[in-house]
């Protein structure tokens, strides 16, 4: 076991190479040849629709599910054949998974006892971990005497107190209501900054993914469609699935085997084709509706070929037209992303 008394943990990278998981009886692999590099100290998120293989991948990293093929290395050491308790990773579950018969203190002390940490250190480190999640006053409670949000904080404290090589979280905010989610999400971001630990986070909520992550791996049908920073994924989606899963997009048929994706805030609206700036591309459209969303307006469009799209306008700027009117939408080719035309259906 690593000695882990240092106040800050050193960071560790995770390399997932060619990992697959086939469940007998399922028509296709749950995880299909996934290769990913998680840098030391990185906050990496697995994002994707239900059933896309996020949990299965995380569970293979944690050691709960054996791999069908491939390997998983932490700092170059192949851990894919190790039992979960030998992997030295922290895991946080959607349903908290606290030990119901142990107090908060004993829950958090549990991993330290497994590592034979001296009693005096245990006490100090448990207190530090509970302070990190703001629960120092709840040390003697049983889990059932805590709210859902508090229980998940205890689970977080328990999963980082022994400074594991990385922290894996499977939809840790999934069981909480909106307000608590936002609050705990900020705390997870803060913990990541303070601990400098490698975080692997699973969600199907794009807002969570975009606000927390250094990089996002977008899962679909057991495969990783694209890995990149939130900005890269948003501005330069490499597949139509990614473009449509993350944020809104306007999709235009282009020549050949590609389609073009333009984000709503990159479209300009004009009354007639003559007003389109030089070098810009354009399509005719009819305004279907205008909705006020927080600090901007979302203008719904139906293009000449029947596809739907949208434009974003900051609230306060003059609206160019009203519902039912014909307009011309234009964009600069710099702001378009060309992606392969999908062969058939995709995603959910």
């Amino acid at each position: 076991m690593r000695p882990s008394t240092a106040p800050t943990s050193t960071s560790h990278g995770i390399r997932i190479s060619g990992v697959s998981k086939v469940f007998p009886g399922l028509p296709r692999p749950a995880v299909d040849d996934v290769t990913l590099d998680v840098a030391p100290g990185e906050f990496m998120t697995f994002l994707g629709p239900s059933g896309s293989g996020k949990t299965t991948t995380l569970s293979m990293i944690a050691g709960f599910t054996p791999l069908t093929a491939g390997s998983i290395c932490v700092d170059g050491e192949d851990i894919s054949r190790l039992k979960p308790h030998k992997r030295d990773l922290g895991v946080v579950f959607q349903q908290y998974a606290l030990f119901p018969h142990l107090t908060v203190t004993k829950n958090v002390a549990f991993p330290l006892q497994q590592r034979a940490v001296p009693r005096a250190d245990v006490e100090a480190r448990v207190r530090a971990a509970l302070e990190l999640v703001g629960l120092a006053d709840f040390a003697d409670r049983l889990p059932r005497q805590l709210s859902g949000g508090q229980q998940q904080r205890v689970a977080l404290a328990r999963a980082v107190v022994y400074q594991p090589r990385a922290l894996l979280m499977d939809e840790p905010l999934g069981a909480l209501d909106k307000k608590l989610r936002d609050q705990l999400r900020r705390e997870i971001a803060r913990m990541h900054r303070e601990l400098g630990m490698t975080f692997l986070f699973v969600t199907h909520d794009q807002e969570e993914a975009l606000t927390l992550s250094d990089r996002i791996a977008v899962f679909n049908n057991g495969r990783v469609e694209q890995v990149g920073t939130p900005n890269e994924l948003y501005e330069r989606p490499s597949t139509l699935f990614v473009a449509q899963f993350l944020g809104e997009s306007n999709v235009f048929a282009d020549d050949g085997a590609e389609v073009v994706v333009v984000r709503p805030e990159r479209l300009e609206l004009h009354a007639e084709p003559g007003a389109v700036p030089d070098g810009c591309r354009h399509r005719k459209a009819v305004i279907t509706d205008i909705v006020y969303v927080g600090n901007h307006h979302r203008i719904g469009l139906r293009f000449a070929d029947g596809t739907e799209g949208s434009v974003m306008r900051l609230a306060g700027t003059a609206l160019p037209a009203a519902p039912g009117e014909s307009v011309v939408a234009s964009w600069s080719p710099r702001h378009q992303a060309a992606v392969p035309r999908p062969a058939a259906t995709w995603g959910v």
Binding site: H85, L89, A97, F99, F110, Q114, L142
Partner: protein, 268 residues
């Protein structure tokens, strides 16, 4: 699962309360009649007794025959409780978690002694134990009673397992606990209510068992129920009422104890 136990049960209406009381009286009254009878002073059974005395208790506690049967019964019941609990807990967990062919068959086989008529089990055990020279030994009583008691332990532990989320075990493993540690520090403590009531049922099963014990007895070693049976077939005197009263009290206390402990714990 603990949160539901900690919750107060809803209060029940008067009609239902009356009904429950009536059923309880009907079920318990015949048993409870022996208690006053055991304090009678007369030579024969009388209810209610005309005069009161402790003479049958004195008779009971000063008879070497009665006393040795009490000791045998206590030993057999305790050992059966322990052995059946160990086997039953392991079996319940294995049947719950294991994914192997013949699992349901194995479960039925282990539950069979609950369904098969006692006399059939008794004859079978008698025949087998004759060959193994286990008749008339404490080990013989313990093994035979364990066979009868294991189904009770499996049932009560399986009930605990049904309301149990095994994610905590996965979590414990991720935190560095080996399989044994998970069992010792997480699984068993969480199943403790089921294990404790399984133990009590096993203990009481052995204490009350008479058919097999009749077959396995020898003049040197017999259990309390067998001694009682023998005493009525030979000569009837109210010593047996004293013995019965003691058995009723011990079984009742054994069955109520876990509930009382649980209530005390959930109140604190």
């Amino acid at each position: 699962m603990p949160s539901t136990r900690a919750g107060r049960p809803r209060s029940i209406g008067w009609g239902l309360r009356l009904w429950v009381t009536a059923v309880a009286v009907l079920l318990l009254a015949p048993t409870l009649v022996v208690i006053p009878m055991s304090f009678g002073a007369g030579q024969t059974f009388a209810f209610p007794p005309k005069e009161w005395s402790l003479r049958w208790y004195e008779e009971f506690f000063s008879s070497p025959q009665w006393m040795s049967s009490v000791v045998t019964s206590a030993q057999a019941a305790l050992l059966t409780g322990v052995l059946a609990t160990v086997i039953g807990v392991a079996a319940a967990i294995g049947l719950d978690r294991g994914r192997f062919p013949g699992r349901e068959l194995l479960r039925s086989a282990m539950m069979a002694p609950m369904i098969v008529p006692g006399i059939v089990v008794a004859v079978a055990i008698y025949g087998t134990f004759l060959r193994w020279h286990l008749n008339g030994t404490l080990l013989g009583f313990v093994l035979a009673h364990t066979v009868l008691a294991v189904p009770f332990v499996i049932t009560s532990v399986s009930t605990s397992l049904a309301g149990y989320d095994s994610t905590v075990e996965v979590a414990a493993a991720s935190l560095g606990a080996s399989g044994w540690t998970v069992l010792r520090r997480i699984t068993l403590p969480l199943l403790m209510p089921g294990i404790a009531s399984g133990f009590v049922f096993a203990f009481v099963t052995s204490l009350d068992e008479v058919v097999i014990a009749l077959f396995l007895q020898t003049p040197e070693i017999r259990t309390l129920p067998v001694q009682m049976y023998d005493s009525i077939t030979l000569e009837i005197d109210p010593t047996i009422a004293a013995a019965s009263s003691l058995i009723v009290v011990v079984t009742t206390v054994a069955l109520l104890l876990p509930q009382l402990v649980r209530r005390r714990r959930s109140e604190s």
